[in-house]
């Protein structure tokens, strides 16, 4: 079975978020409750698409987010085709990710938060500065030492695990944002009138599918 991991505390938060007032007020001060329209309004299992805010706290603080913004741009910088990751808020998205009440997210939160701190400590030990204060060459040198699990030094294992996780989460957060889709080659989510047009001749030729229809 697939039990929800939403804690009691989170559940109270959900109910508060779902209520008309958005806050729990002492009963003697409250107006008459609004008519009940749903037996149990859980905005996670019955989402309101017009109000999609995630109903949980974002745990990372400003300095952590600043470091994340630098990191996601090193992983996914701007190029001719698409913006830098921070320009579309991938670091903020990772904060939402880290705060979610589900087991995977809680595990990722530990890796992200601990990893950000590890990175700063590592930068401090090497250069006497936090990671964001390093120049680009110094930042890249550190990332090069932790980017590949097959090659990085055993004493850097915590940093390597952090970067491996961060790279995949940043990739997911970046390319699931619709502003990057054209650059990736996803041109759907747009209506087409008439019959479905099928595969362009150019693709048929590349794949050697002539005569397959």
């Amino acid at each position: 079975m697939n039990d929800s991991n939403v804690s009691r505390r989170d559940l109270f938060k959900l109910i508060a978020a779902a209520s008309a007032t958005g806050a729990l007020v002492p009963t003697h001060l409250a107006a008459a409750p609004p008519p009940l329209t749903r037996n149990f309004k859980n905005i996670l299992s019955d989402p309101d698409y017009s109000n999609p805010a995630a109903p949980w706290d974002k745990p990372l603080v400003e300095t952590e987010l600043a470091t994340l913004a630098v990191l996601v741009d090193l992983i996914l910088p701007a190029d001719d085709l698409s913006p830098a990751a921070s320009a579309i808020g991938v670091h903020d998205f990772l904060n939402e990710w880290a705060g979610a009440p589900y087991p995977d997210n809680r595990a990722d939160c530990e890796i992200l938060r601990g990893g950000l701190a590890w990175l700063n400590t590592h930068a401090f030990q090497r250069h006497g500065k936090s990671f964001t204060a390093l120049d680009a060459a110094q930042q890249t040198a550190i990332l090069d030492s932790i980017c590949d699990p097959a090659k990085s030094a055993p004493e850097l294992a915590i940093g390597t695990r952090f970067f491996t996780k961060l790279r995949m989460l940043a990739l997911g957060g970046y390319y699931s944002h619709s502003s990057t889709w054209k650059s990736l080659g996803y041109v759907g989510n747009a209506p087409i009138a008439g019959p479905y047009p099928g595969v362009p001749a150019e693709v048929i030729k590349i794949l050697g599918l002539e005569g397959e229809i």
Partner: protein, 594 residues
């Protein structure tokens, strides 16, 4: 579309239908279009797909980019309200000694699971109705394919199904003019077809309940309801108002333009327009009520909004609550006359529970890297599939029944895990080079999902847990499960076949042993069999019309009545059976037999 959700209702109806999904929706439409006063009770909330469907919403508009979570098993935008494999406040359990924990999927919304299903609509074939006669296992149906075929025709015309007629063994064709044209295949589907040919594996257009063209409502309604002016008028108008697919957005979100089939978009609107159907939502049915003669008189339900117990009365009661919920209601309807639960003199209620056998294997296909982009959204689901192709060699395979293959992949809407493959293909890479890698690998993966027939066995059943009730005070179900070698060996065969196809396409994949690769029981959400039909009251619950042997005015109309669970997804057959039952029920009501 106005849906009645207030509590005003008649004192007594002709028919009460419990559930608003495929079976209940079809029954409700056909009866109300024939002047029968129907009350439908739905355990979930009202739901309007025209207003509530997130058609073009993008992942960044959703929490966690819309990914699947324990609260939203198929992602944020899936058309499932208030449920999933867990419904808050409505638990179920595992019976001690079970080999596997069963997953029970329940939405709590008008239209039930028809709002999010895959729309795969495959007719069962000749063999599927007589499995025991062929291999000595499971149960034969009390009807043949030919007896149900006219109702498959009608159902396909009513809901709109695309597909083709290929004349393959045990894969029935539809008569000319019934199916709509299938959409052209996508690149990966064509590539799979090309390479499957060398393996002797057919790949043909799949049948799905999606409109590839607008319906000619007037012509179709005239064929479906030649002698019923009201039905002709209402169905014609409603059919003609449905749009054709515009080849965008996943069908699992539901469809605000009503291009795919949902009970809420196709069956309930004409039913409500007739003025003969009332619907009460948020009504959790606890039990069927019977009189001293053992005749059904109505149902006892809990109004979820007020938590007040209520009674609704009718001359006929139809349970279309879903395979397991229908069994639960029957087992909870105990009286002195029916000490083991209603309509359970055979002892078969809750037994013979099956789900489709599922397993999946996918891989990167190098020849699909860096292809020129084009729009592959298509019909929001599969365009092609592989029907079971080994009937001639079945006896040598080590499992008795077949499976079909659902072929997917390519350039779908990017989500959180769409580039997960880069973890393996591109270690250590970041910066601009990583973006190049993303462009190279995006869309270059294909996956193969097997959906196979499970044979009912004595170890797979649900029953009432003697110790627990849900938040409405209703005793809950607990499940017992054990796969047989037929399912395990079938899953192994799936894995080996998928690996062969992937290798032929130029990819690499390692098949897993069947026991390991099998999806969880209940995970494929094709439960069937808990109140099976038969030709003898001694060992079955209902006759071929879904009429219970023990209570003449009690009908079951969902997948609980299916004696077997072929690889061909159940929904189309549930609706065809409902149509056949509706004809019977109308005739019986007219002649005063009920």
């Amino acid at each position: 579309m106005a849906l009645l959700t207030d509590r005003k209702s008649l004192r007594e109806y002709d028919v009460i239908i419990v559930g608003s999904g495929a079976g209940g929706g079809m029954m409700g439409m056909l009866l109300s279009l024939n002047g029968v006063k129907v009350l439908m009770l739905e355990a979930g909330r009202n739901y309007d797909p025209v207003k509530e469907t997130p058609m073009f919403h993008t992942p960044e508009q959703a929490p966690l980019r819309g990914k699947a979570t324990p609260d939203r098993s198929f992602g944020h935008y899936d058309a499932t309200v208030g449920g999933g494999w867990q419904v808050p406040g409505e638990p179920y359990g595992d019976k001690p000694g079970t080999q596997e924990d069963f997953w029970w999927w329940r939405p709590r919304m008008l239209g039930g699971r028809t709002n999010h299903w895959g729309r795969i609509s495959l007719r069962f074939g000749d063999y599927d109705f007589k499995p025991r006669s062929r291999d000595g296992l499971g149960f034969d149906w009390p009807i043949t394919y030919n007896e149900l075929a006219p109702y498959y025709d009608k159902t396909e015309m009513m809901i709109g199904v695309y597909g083709s007629n290929e004349g393959l063994e045990n894969t029935p064709d539809s008569p000319p003019g019934v199916l709509q044209a299938p959409p052209k295949p996508r690149a990966g589907e064509m590539l799979a077809k090309k390479h499957c040919r060398g393996l002797g594996i057919p790949v043909i257009p799949i049948h799905r309940a999606v409109l590839s063209e607008r319906m000619d409502g007037t012509a179709l309604a005239a064929k479906l309801f030649p002698n019923n002016p009201l039905a002709r008028k209402l169905v014609a108008a409603d059919m003609s108002a449905r749009a054709a697919c515009f080849w965008a957005t996943d069908c699992g979100r539901g469809c605000s333009i009503r291009a795919n089939f949902q009970s809420t978009t196709v069956l309930l609107p004409p039913a409500l327009a007739s003025g003969n159907l009332d619907i009460i939502t948020d009504a959790m049915v606890r039990e069927v009520l019977t009189d001293a003669n053992g005749k059904a008189t109505g149902v006892h339900y809990v109004d979820k909004l007020t938590r007040v117990d209520s009674i609704a009365k009718a001359k006929v009661v139809i349970l279309s609550a879903s395979t397991c919920e229908t069994a639960r209601i029957l087992l909870n309807s105990k009286t002195a006359l029916f000490p083991n639960g209603l309509a359970n003199r055979s002892g078969q209620v809750g037994k013979n529970l099956t789900d489709s056998v599922g397993s999946w294997l996918g891989a990167h296909i190098p020849s699909m890297e860096s292809l020129p982009p084009y729009n592959e959204d298509g019909a929001g689901g599969n365009h092609v599939y592989t029907p079971w192709w080994n009937y001639k060699t079945q006896e040598k395979l080590g499992f008795a029944r077949g499976y079909h293959i659902e072929i997917g992949g390519g350039r779908g809407m990017p989500g959180m895990s769409s580039l997960g493959i880069l973890n393996a293909t591109s270690p250590g890479i970041y910066g601009k080079k990583l973006k190049e890698e993303a462009r190279r690998y995006y869309g270059a993966s294909m996956g193969f999902a097997g959906r196979g027939e499970m044979i009912p066995n004595e170890h797979c059943y649900c029953e009432i847990d003697p110790d627990r009730v849900d938040q409405w005070g209703i005793p809950i179900l607990r499940f017992h499960w054990k796969w047989s070698d037929h399912e395990i060996n079938q899953a192994t065969h799936m894995q080996n076949t998928f690996a062969d196809i992937i290798h032929a396409m130029g990819g690499k994949a390692t098949p897993r042993p069947g026991r390991e690769a099998l999806n969880k029981p209940g995970e494929i959400i094709h439960e069937a069999g808990t109140a099976r039909m038969g030709s003898d009251a001694k060992d079955s619950v209902v006759n071929s019309f879904g009429q219970t042997w023990d209570v003449k005015n009690l009908f079951l109309m969902d997948a609980s009545v299916l004696p077997s669970n072929p690889d061909k997804n159940l929904t189309l057959t549930v609706m065809a059976l409902a149509w056949r039952s509706a004809d019977y029920l109308l005739a019986e009501m007219k002649s005063g037999n009920l």
